[in-house]
């Protein structure tokens, strides 16, 4: 499997190299939204005497800079791609090879991240210097961030695939996608750190998967969460990943029975 991945990575990287400007633009677009929220909260905190709900100007900056990095590392777009793969008949050749289509998507996902992480790091470093960020990160936050970000990526990826499989039944999965994105926007901790939200909203955040994708790794790497809370949040990620994996297996098996391979 390692050999397959190595070869797939090389091929996808070669293909991606031809779209480097497009990749760079996508990366920059992904920075815009958190930067706007960061600027807004920094302004609010400054206007209220330097802090809101225990978050100082530098804390907000730290939170959103880490969130930008987490957002980049956990991004998954299979739910958009898959519908086109089915419609244009690109899924069929993959189904006829002795390799699950998930693997192609994993590699494609990693190629994008691998090729855009260096320029993103530069952008984030500039933002960090501009806003004079503050992190409360201990060494064990960094250690726990590793499983947290891996689980967050896997969860984001598998959630994307669960939605993607809807394309076996629905003609337009984009609507489901949009709904998911809007929900994630509210409940993942993008508008504000969830500690600043009303208790009822916080409960919803904990119950949905989105916070475990973006909010959890962000809070852990930024520091300021206790060890116990960090571990509990990672367990929450693992549970959601298990749920999504099971849902994917069921949906995939049933979807393939439904698959009509039109135009393929």
């Amino acid at each position: 499997m390692i050999r397959i991945y190595r070869q797939l990575f090389t091929a996808q990287f070669q293909a991606a190299a031809q779209y480097r400007i497009q990749f760079l633009l996508w990366m920059l677009f992904s920075v815009i939204r958190p930067t706007i929220f960061m600027a807004a909260w920094v302004a609010v905190a400054a206007a209220q005497g330097g802090s809101v709900g225990g978050y100082s100007v530098a804390d907000f900056a730290g939170y959103y800079i880490v969130m930008t990095l987490v957002g980049h590392l956990t991004a998954a777009w299979n739910s958009f791609e898959f519908e086109f793969e089915i419609r244009q008949g690109r899924l069929s050749p993959k189904l006829l090879r002795p390799l699950h289509p998930l693997h192609y998507a994993i590699v494609e996902n990693q190629v994008f991240k691998f090729s855009t992480l260096p320029p993103l790091a530069i952008v984030l470093a500039i933002l960090a210097l501009t806003f004079q960020v503050h992190f409360a990160t201990e060494w064990w936050h960094v250690v726990l961030f590793v499983p947290a970000i891996v689980l967050a990526w896997a969860l984001s990826f598998m959630l994307g695939w669960v939605v993607a499989t809807a394309a076996f039944w629905l003609q337009r999965v984009q609507t489901v996608n949009t709904l998911l994105q809007r929900t994630s926007f509210i409940f993942a901790g993008q508008i504000a750190p969830i500690a600043l939200m009303p208790a009822a909203l916080q409960a919803i955040c904990y119950a949905l998967p989105f916070y475990y994708i973006l909010g959890v790794p962000t809070e852990i790497l930024r520091g300021g969460v206790s060890f116990e809370r960090a571990v509990a949040l990672i367990v929450g990620q693992a549970i959601w990943l298990g749920v999504c994996w099971a849902a994917f297996l069921v949906a995939w098996r049933r979807g393939l029975r439904q698959f009509s391979a039109v135009g393929a």
Binding site: R6, Q7, Q12, G89, A264
Partner: protein, 336 residues
């Protein structure tokens, strides 16, 4: 027949499609109540294919050919019926099974467009776990047969349709499948490229002993490659047997074309055979196969200097197949 590599029993596929009515009212209603219609694509077909055979799978558009190929390659689940391909149930799609087949579609690409084919081949080598030595030998052989050398290192998107089809063939055959399902492999290619692909398929079958199930609308493909044909129409098997026999039964005549030296449309040729077409200088006659030599000799003798040219040929296979389609009733099978 040897133990079949493809065994199909009463295979059926019914598609469930959303039926949309026209008009505003019907559209509004469809928002709340969707109507579905069952469309039978393959209506219970049965056949066997022996190892090493090249079988032509014929039928007009929408006959169920591609649906059958998709079921036999494992892409589609059937609605009912059985199929065993290479000893396995195709739609289980086990890795061991997938390594023994290939499905090549003339209108579809399985290569990454932005990179050279050689790089896609390396990915396939790993996916199919092809040993280095076997990979080298197979690639060399395919490169020679298909004259791929100048094409391997160009990005696929820069290749012409014919060139792309050649590298698609190589990609599909790198893992030396024991069965190749070819769906319209010469679609859109010019005459010379069609001939080269045909020659390649024949040679590949001879060298590797692979079984080939081929659909094509170009009868030249079928005549050149397939001794046996399976004809389906509206998902029903109409004929399974020798192509030559089909021609003899559906069109039991030879075609004699004559060209006259002088305009003589008045001349009666009906005593030589059934006049299928006629103008001042040309005529086409249909004569019973057995009597063709004698009638031809008589024509030459009796028309004498009035005859500029004469040719005797079998009726075009398109005409034969068309007769099977239009009859729409199953013909008794004759072994190929």
């Amino acid at each position: 027949m040897n133990d079949p590599v493809v065994r199909v029993r009463d295979l059926r596929k019914v598609y469930r499609v959303n039926e949309r009515q026209t008009g505003f009212g019907a559209t509004v209603t469809s928002l709340f109540r969707r109507k579905f219609k069952e469309v039978p694509a393959v209506g219970g077909i049965t056949f066997d294919i022996a190892p090493g055979e090249i079988v032509g799978f014929l039928g007009p558009n929408g006959a169920g050919k591609t649906t059958t190929l998709k079921m036999l390659s494992g892409l589609l689940y059937p609605t009912s019926g059985e199929a065993i391909v290479n000893g396995d149930i195709p739609w289980r799609r086990r890795d061991e099974f997938l390594k023994t087949i290939t499905l090549l579609m003339g209108n579809r690409s399985q290569l990454v467009w932005d990179i050279p084919a050689a790089d896609s081949f390396l990915v396939l080598k790993e996916i199919y776990t092809i040993p280095d030595a076997q990979y080298g030998a197979t690639l060399d052989e395919l490169t020679a047969l298909l004259e791929l050398e100048p094409l391997l290192h160009k990005p696929v998107r820069g290749l012409s349709l014919g060139e792309r089809m050649k590298v698609e063939f190589a990609a599909g055959l790198l893992h030396s499948p024991r069965i190749a399902f070819l769906d319209e492999p010469t679609l859109g290619l010019d005459v010379s490229m069609q001939a080269r692909i045909r020659a390649f398929v024949a040679e590949y079958n001879r060298r590797s002993g692979a079984t080939i199930l081929l659909t094509s609308h170009y009868m030249d493909d079928v005549v050149a490659l397939c001794r046996r044909v399976i004809v389906i129409h509206h998902g029903v098997l109409l004929y399974d047997g020798a192509l030559a026999d089909l021609a003899e039964r559906m069109a039991p005549y030879k075609r004699i074309s004559v060209t006259l030296t002088t305009a003589s449309s008045a001349r009666d040729l009906s005593s030589y055979g059934e006049v299928a077409s006629r103008d001042e200088y040309h005529a086409t006659l249909h004569v019973p196969r057995r009597e063709a030599p004698e009638r031809t000799a008589r024509l030459v003798r009796e028309l004498g200097d009035g005859l500029a040219d004469i040719s005797v040929e079998d009726p075009p296979i398109e005409e034969v197949i068309d007769k099977v389609f239009t009859s729409e009733r199953p013909l008794e099978a004759v072994p190929a």
